[in-house]
């Protein structure tokens, strides 16, 4: 098996690792770095559970190879809370009741983070459109939409 050495920053920490050329970014995060917060739901780019930010853009990490992330800055759910304080999105998800089984939650949060970086004050329609690739089977989505709007209001205040 061909391998390559890659350098990535994950949640602010630098890593240099030799990986198989066919390893996905999702496998790299979960198996090499033991960051299991990012979830495998379908491995075919259809559920969004594996969403992480690569250089600020939301990516289905099951569809990206680890070697393609060489040199990139990666951000996962484990990087959201800082110094013992939850990120506004995390707080808003709890407050709005947007979490049930929680399996879609890490991917939802990362997609929502990318959305808020792009549109600091999104409308419900924008949220529904931008997050369409993230599937949730528990909540019916409404509370997730409300949570993201709530987080956007917290942002403004902060």
């Amino acid at each position: 098996m061909k391998t390559l050495t890659i350098q990535v920053t994950v949640n602010g920490e630098a890593f240099c690792k030799t990986v198989g050329v066919n390893m996905t970014l999702l496998e790299f995060l979960r198996e090499e770095l033991h960051l299991t917060g990012t979830k495998l739901g379908c491995n075919e780019g259809e559920c969004g559970a594996c969403t992480v930010l690569v250089d600020g853009k939301p990516v289905n990490s099951c569809l990206m190879l680890a070697v393609e992330a060489d040199g990139a800055e990666i951000f996962t759910v484990e990087g959201l809370a800082k110094d013992g304080t939850l990120h506004p999105l995390q707080e808003a998800f709890i407050e709005a009741g947007a979490v049930q089984c929680g399996f879609c939650t890490p991917g939802m949060l990362m997609s929502a983070k990318a959305l808020l970086d792009k549109y600091p004050k999104p409308t419900a329609q924008q949220i529904r459109k931008e997050l369409e690739g993230n599937i949730c089977r528990c909540t019916g989505y409404d509370r997730i939409v409300k949570a993201i709007i709530l987080a956007s209001e917290m942002n403004k205040e902060g």
């Binding site: 259809e46 559920c47 484990e78 995390q90 979490v99 949730c136």
Partner: protein
């Protein structure tokens, strides 16, 4: 009663772990020395296995074990032991395990599974209920050879794996007395639960003692423990199930699926753990599904709309093995006539085996399907008689003191209120049945109600351990799968003991030390777990009162426990708050304070007659609710858009009102998928759409539905604080209400789900 913690909306106790990505789900378990499992699955839906050649797979470097059905020929099943762990003589569905591989890494295991050569001799395929009913090809030639540990009634020399009957009154006489007899049929597609977490298990076996340990996101560890013990021929206590968090259940993780495969491999790996995770493709093809259903109804009614007689025949396509089919058949059979007064009722249910994936538990256990049918029928009757659909229902619904089709005198029943509230929530009374919107869409309204029982009798237990500082640890095996049980159970304990909610913690669930709970299904956890917790809390109080009495040197009868204060009656200085218990010193070197709660519904139950199902009390808890829908159909494209759902569910008493709402909102969108989107498409036993591109579940875009929900609180006399279950009710009337609203909008009689644009367009050209 002045309640402080229950009845208030509280944030979930498991939320922080979940939003920070720390919750450990099935696949997040990694054990030292772990191998990876892969499954070689049948490419044929029905075939004799002539030969399995594992030579090439075994030669692949990194492969540690390859096993076939010959290595392990025991059959298993909760109701009937008809299913092999690994197929050995024949395969009965596409995707059935034929051989298993364990290897050092996943890619090697998958590669080895591909290298296994299997010679099949194809057999004729039974693809549908109709084909199964001909009995030309039998999937199971001899039912009598199987052990039947549960309530399951197969019919020899047929494809019928289970039968159900209900008889009340004289059905023929009832039809004779009717002014109008309406006959219809309704069918529901096959569904996959599509939990975002697939089935996963990690198992290891002690080669000397034979002890088996398995990590799994199981919904019902104590239900699967005896099944696994029998399947692997070890005593019960040698199976240890360590529960991981569940990434969505909805019934799919009730059945054993990945567990027996991981265990079978682990028997051959010298003690090394084996981790096995289903791919999404495997999840669709070979985990579990909701059985397709065909329901026939014949209803006799008076001119004024009074129901006189109803005959229902239900056919379930339970797939290749019977699994939980009998329980679906039973629960749906009891609910098949709806929450109505009907003097003459007759229900027959049949589970048919076919060469498809396994139709088993899915949120609602058959009730959403029968609700679609009886509520479609009600609308047809209303149309024939020129009555308002709501009026027809209100005329016939069961009320306090009415007698159900199973002969029970109904008590604390609020289905009428639910119907009225649901109707109000969509403005039913101000709208015609259908209308055209300003932008030319065809709009319609529809309403539906249901009844569902909880499995009875059943038992549960809890252990409450008071820690030295007055915090509390609860051991209870009801599984958190998103429904919020690990929040409502602590709420009830907090209320009973006056301990603040953040000082109460749920212990992990592990059959090695967790107390018995029958299952996390049937919407039973709040009711059963809550009762057990309240019993255990009483024991804690008693022990604390004794200890405090000793400390204050008074008799225990002088002591009382009020809102977390342990005090001497009439002596305000002799009082200790539970949260100051450590400082008080009363626990020092005393026997630890532990409360047990063991709850059973056996004495609240009368076993229904096996033929007629008549019983004074067939279930400890009936659940009722209603939903109304407004839908718009674009006559040009056929595009169907659910606009509004008005829901009203009788929750008895809302322990956590937000949790109750979540348990209704989620199912509304799930039910939208059932009504308008989802179906597993099989052709001659081959699944044609086993992926998330071709099998569509609702997305953010599909789900922009206005939801207005009322929680009706008709307290249940035996419920904890009057509470009832709400895990399944939310899903029961959704699809039925949507179907009725689409039919109203299009002035159609579409009688199968999902309803797709082509169905309504086809109607138009008609």
């Amino acid at each position: 009663m002045d309640l402080k913690v229950v009845g208030k909306p509280v944030a979930r106790k498991d939320a922080i772990e979940k939003v920070t990505g720390q919750t450990k789900f099935g696949a997040d378990i990694d054990l030292p020395g772990q191998l990876y499992g892969a499954v070689c699955r049948s490419t044929y839906p029905h075939a004799t296995i002539k030969n399995v050649n594992t030579e090439m797979a075994l030669k692949l470097p990194g492969v540690r074990a390859v096993i076939t059905g010959k290595d392990y020929t025991k059959l298993y099943g909760q109701f009937i032991e008809d299913q092999p762990v690994i197929a050995f003589d024949k395969v009965r569905y596409q995707g059935e395990p034929v051989a298993l591989v364990a290897a050092e890494d996943l890619l090697t295991a998958q590669e080895a599974a591909r290298l296994i050569e299997i010679e099949y001799e194809p057999l004729p395929v039974v693809n549908s209920i109709d084909e199964a009913l001909t009995n030309e090809t039998l999937l199971h030639e001899d039912w009598s050879k199987y052990n039947i540990p549960g309530a399951c009634h197969p019919v020899q020399n047929t494809n019928i794996g289970d039968t159900f009957t209900l008889r009340k009154g004289d059905i023929e006489q009832g039809f004779k007395e009717s002014d109008l007899v309406v006959e219809n049929k309704f069918s529901c597609s096959m569904l996959q639960h599509t939990t975002i977490e697939t089935h996963t298990a990690t198992a290891y076996v002690n080669q000397i003692t034979g002890e088996i340990t398995v990590y799994t996101p199981a919904q019902s560890p104590f239900t699967i423990r005896p099944v696994l013990a029998k399947a692997f021929n070890v005593p019960l206590e040698k199976i240890r199930i360590i529960c991981t968090a569940i990434g969505g259940g909805f019934g799919s993780k009730y059945e054993v699926r990945a567990e027996p495969l991981a265990i079978a491999l682990a028997l051959f790996t010298n003690g090394r753990p084996v981790k096995l995770q289903f791919s999404r493709e495997e999840e669709f093809m070979a985990s579990v599904a909701r059985a397709p259903a065909q329901i026939h109804l014949k209803t006799g009614v008076k001119k004024d709309g009074t129901l006189v007689a109803q005959q229902v025949k239900i056919y379930w396509d339970t797939g290749a093995y019977v699994t939980t089919g009998p329980r679906v058949n039973y629960n749906a059979g009891f609910a098949a006539c709806g929450p109505y007064k009907i003097p003459h009722a007759w229900v027959d249910g049949y589970c048919l085996v076919t060469n498809k994936s396994l139709g088993t538990a899915y949120r609602g256990f058959g009730v959403p399907e029968v609700a679609c049918a009886h509520e479609f029928q009600m609308d047809c009757i209303a149309k024939e008689l020129g009555l308002d659909p709501l009026e027809l229902r209100l005329k016939n619904v069961l009320e306090e003191g009415d007698i159900s089709v199973t002969g029970e005198v109904m008590q604390s029943i609020a289905v009428k209120e639910c119907l009225e509230e649901a109707a109000k929530n969509i403005g039913w009374y101000d709208k015609p049945l259908n209308w055209t919107t300003q932008d030319g869409k065809l709009a319609g309204k529809g309403i539906a109600c249901f009844c569902k029982l909880t499995g009875t009798p059943s038992t549960t237990s809890t252990v409450l351990k008071l820690n030295e500082n007055g915090s509390l640890t609860i051991q209870y095996s009801g599984r958190e799968m998103g429904q919020g049980v690990t929040t409502v159970i602590p709420q009830m304990a907090a209320e009973a003991l006056g301990i603040s909610l953040d000082k109460i913690h749920m212990a992990p669930v592990d059959t090695a030390y967790s107390p018995y709970d029958k299952t996390t299904t049937s919407s039973r956890s709040t009711f059963h777990g809550g009762n057990a917790v309240l019993m255990a809390a009483e024991q804690i109080k008693e022990q604390l009162l004794d200890l405090a009495a000793k400390y204050f040197q008074v008799s225990p009868s002088q002591m009382e426990y009020v809102d977390g204060v342990i005090r001497c009656k009439g002596e305000p200085t002799k009082a200790i708050h539970i949260e100051d218990i450590e400082a008080s010193g009363i626990l020092k070197e005393q026997p630890p304070v532990i409360g047990n709660g063991t709850y059973s519904t056996l004495n609240l139950y009368y076993k229904p007659d096996p033929l007629t199902r008549q019983s004074k009390r067939p279930t400890v808890m009936w659940m009722f609710g209603a939903q109304a829908a407004i839908t718009e159909v674009d006559p040009a494209t056929g595009c169907i858009k659910l606009k509004t759902i008005g829901a009203a569910h009788d929750v008895g008493y809302a322990i956590n009102p937000v949790g109750c709402l979540q348990q209704i909102e989620g199912p509304i969108i799930m039910g939208l998928g059932h009504a308008l989107l989802e179906e597993m498409i099989y052709e001659n036993g081959i699944l044609r759409n086993g992926n998330m591109v071709d099998y569509k579940v609702p997305t953010f875009q599909d789900s922009d539905v206005e939801m207005k929900i009322t929680l009706v609180e008709k307290q249940h006399p035996e419920g904890p604080f009057g509470a009832k279950g709400i895990g399944e009710p939310g899903i029961c009337p959704v699809a039925a209400a949507i179907v009725n609203s689409v039919n109203a909008a299009c002035e159609a009689n579409l009688n199968s789900i999902p309803i797709k644009p082509e169905h309504v367009l086809f109607r138009k050209e008609d």
